[in-house]
Amino acid sequence: MSSRDIDLRMELPPTLDAIEKFCAEFQLWRQGACANLDSFSSELLLREALTNSVVHGCSGDPGKRISCVLRAKRDRVVIAIRDEGAGFDWRAAWDRQAEPEDTHGRGIEIFRRYANAVRFNPKGNSVTLVKRFQRVNEI
């Protein structure tokens, strides 16, 4: 990824408040960089990735940081989130479907259903999500 392709890059502390601030920043960026990108599903994907990093990846450790890179390409947005945690076994979680009474375990399913592509690194502390959209003036 060349530096000129990077549209929004931030490093966050592992707090839920930081997610709120970054999502507000994301919506401003989205309106400028890719207004046709679906607001609901893209923010949902971003929130799920960030919440996983804050709650599970960093486990509230204030010494850890979360790297966020958002990149608008011609017809897609790439959301790349990496934390400094130990990672997790995403392969085991990939096909899991929460039972109706379960109060956890729906984040990965949201990735599967709302993103056009999902890629984890082997360690499981980095996820890249792709969401496609149609350009405003595209026929």
Binding site: L16, F40, E43, R47, A98, D102, T103, R106, R113
Partner: protein, 109 residues
């Protein structure tokens, strides 16, 4: 209300009419601790039927879904349940996608 239920050894009036909680923001991880406390207090006070009005919530994440299910599970144990009303089109689609509408009653705006 004549019916009474016994909860933890203390007789409390059963709340037959659904109580309504109106959300004033998105149902996402950062806002859940306060809402969770409020719902716990209501259940402890004898509320069995609870309606969540989502007209003020544009977005729900998996943590928010988890809280709704947790609340419904608690209410169901007491013989009641949760109802969600005024969900936006996007939130309704999320609930259907995640099969939440099979667990408790949800309706759109």
């Amino acid at each position: 209300m004549n019916d009474e239920m016994v909860s933890q050894g203390v007789a409390t009036p059963e709340k037959v009419r659904p109580e309504v909680v109106r959300l004033e923001g998105d149902l996402v991880a950062a806002g859940l601790p306060a809402l969770r406390s409020k719902l716990k207090e209501m259940v402890a006070a004898g509320v069995h039927h609870l309606t969540i009005d989502m007209a003020g919530a544009h977005l729900v994440d998996s943590a928010g879904i988890g809280l709704l299910i947790s609340a419904h599970n608690s209410l169901k144990k007491a013989g009641g349940g949760l109802t969600v009303i005024h969900a936006s089109k996007d939130v309704m689609e999320l609930f259907r996608t995640m099969r939440i509408h099979q667990h408790f009653t949800v309706s759109g705006s």
